[in-house]
Symmetry: C2
Subunit: 360 residues, 2 copies
């Protein structure tokens, strides 16, 4: 079992990665009652094991429909009403058992139910285990605006059991691996080289390997958020690949790409962009694109109109005047955050990667 320590301004907590991690949830004490927020299919597959491991034998889940539409204020209100209905009080405990949607929604409900109750994350996707369950960000969507409403609220524990990844579809599984690749570009050669060659044949039930992979990738996120929880600066580097990625998701109404797949394209695109502006050596760029490609096939970006993508590039919410903060790889282990990128280079990178004229 790997134990990672998050130090944050809203509280310190552990991220546990390993088979049997759920057992530690049952060891948390001082609560009047425990509730789990999850999805129906997940609970059908993993519910009895979750109850056995945590020791919460009579646990009845609060179930939300799968998919991004559950990340709404309406759903948050329904979950709160359901908690009240079942007698949850200020000293009750909520576990979010699921992927990014359940984690974000569950964290938001926990942070606002009776002005805040204790909660934990039990992430069930690669994406959530290596990324979204760590860092204390909670959120719901307001119509078109993703994550517009949310809180910073630390969980008591993040308990990631890699066994649960075994029930993911191959596509969802691979989508999460791209976030691990992204983390390795931030972290440096030790993790990057370790991943190289391992991703191609990796499958959801390769539990031992995944335990190592999730542990190492989660450690990257833990390191970043422990140093800068509120994303003032350092946390921005986690957005590597997300600038193009978000535009791709939005241009296709969140239907063509899974989040990690859009991020994978985003990583390829900024890698080429960094080469074009002379920040990244083409040899390094080739290594990055090869690692991304080794995960598996990506849904095509052919047919997407360049102007549309460029128009949808998300502007930074914090910057006055709304500049784009590009996160560009300088080499494996180092990125630069900069708003100063010529628009012509941004177009060129998109065109070259889209047309396959680059090695990506």
């Amino acid at each position: 079992m790997k134990r990672l320590q998050v130090q944050s301004s809203v509280g310190n907590y552990e991220v546990l990665v390993g088979r049997g991690a759920w057992r530690e949830l049952g060891g948390l004490t001082g609560f009047t009652s425990a509730f789990v927020l999850t999805e129906g299919n997940l609970w059908k597959t993993w519910g009895s094991q979750f109850k056995r491991r945590t020791g919460w034998a009579r646990l009845q889940p609060i179930v939300v429909p799968p998919g991004e539409t559950s990340k709404s204020l309406t759903m948050a209100g329904r979950v709160a009403a359901e908690l009240l209905n079942r007698g949850a009080d200020r000293r009750s405990f909520l576990v979010a058992l699921g992927g990014g949607v359940v984690g974000d929604l569950g964290g938001f409900v926990a942070s606002t139910y009776m002005r805040g109750i204790a909660y934990a994350q039990a992430p069930t996707t690669v994406l959530a285990q290596v990324d979204s369950a760590i860092g204390g960000k909670t959120a719901v969507n307001i119509r078109a605006a993703k994550n517009l409403v949310g809180t910073f609220y630390a969980p008591r524990l993040v308990a990631s059991d890699p066994t649960v990844l075994g029930s993911l579809s191959l596509r969802a599984f691979r989508s999460g691996l791209y976030e691990a690749v992204k983390h390795s570009i931030l972290a440096g050669p030790a993790l990057f080289d370790w991943l190289d060659g391992k991703l191609a044949g990796l499958r959801p039930h390769d539990t031992a390997m995944l335990e190592a992979l999730v542990g190492r990738a989660a450690a990257v996120k833990v390191g970043v958020v422990s140093r800068d929880e509120r994303e003032a600066d350092l946390r921005r580097i986690l957005n590597l690949g997300h600038t193009y990625g978000h535009a791709l998701e939005e241009a296709t109404a969140y239907r063509r790409f899974l989040h990690g797949e859009a991020v994978a394209w985003g990583v390829l695109l900024v890698t080429r962009l960094a080469e074009i502006v002379g920040l990244l050596d083409p040899g390094e760029g080739k290594r990055i694109s090869r690692l991304v490609r080794s995960v598996g096939p990506l849904p095509p970006i052919r047919g997407l109109r360049e102007e549309k993508i460029l128009r949808l590039l998300p502007r930074d919410k914090k910057a006055v005047g709304g500049k784009i903060h590009w996160v560009l790889p300088e080499n494996i282990g180092k990125v630069r955050v900069t708003p100063d990128v010529p628009p012509a280079a941004v177009s060129a990178a998109f065109r070259e990667v889209q047309r396959g004229v680059w090695n990506g």
Copy 2:
């Protein structure tokens, strides 16, 4: 201008009470843009003065309908969407200009918009100036459950100008005075005696007197929340009169009583209850009931069924098993919080006050 310092775990801030207090809002700097959340009629009456005092000449308000129904997650989502629409970013500033509803809603939106932006309270009712705008509690209602969802989130400033009270109806004005009476029972003879004789003829436009009154009553709340922001124990004393009061409001579907009026009845009822259980000297009880009665007439509690009221007495959300935590006056300046009150005494107090057989 009176300046009170709140020390709280989520941040320290000042409560300003005095004519011209809004001017200090305009002095807050470091924001990309400022927004005000308010009600239509309030803005019509006070908007131009608010713009002049703050110096925010081009300010356009975000308006919500008056009344408790605006304190919803749906409305919070609409306000967030409107903020986004108008270009609010993470460094924007929100002022809640209004009574308890606008203050609770505005605080909730501020604490969750882009995971939290800076905000201030500019309370416009007696109730909000002496009580609800102070302490960092934000909330919205979920169907029948009042304040079920909310946050603890400190404002940058609470700016209370007593001039604004001049546009209150006499009834709404008096409803707030009951909270000031409640505070004086907690605070002791200095404030209690000072209020005695002043409340009977007090009118909304008696600005100089109100400045003194609000300043002194607000100081009581500041003292309590500075010592115990999260209501672990001490903050419970602020619920004096609220146990019966909430039951009266709920039994009449929040239609017969303004909140302060229900609290006034609640104070009378626990005063009699404290006499019955031998905690309070009848002479002190008479003084309390006379001060409450001196504010003005209350909507009658005749006709309310005793069993219904007793059934609706709110159980404490924190206590295991859901006991009622009664806040009983022992004398002027001292209350006792206790779950150990015989049900027969609770009934008897209600009956005697309802039938007018007690001096209340």
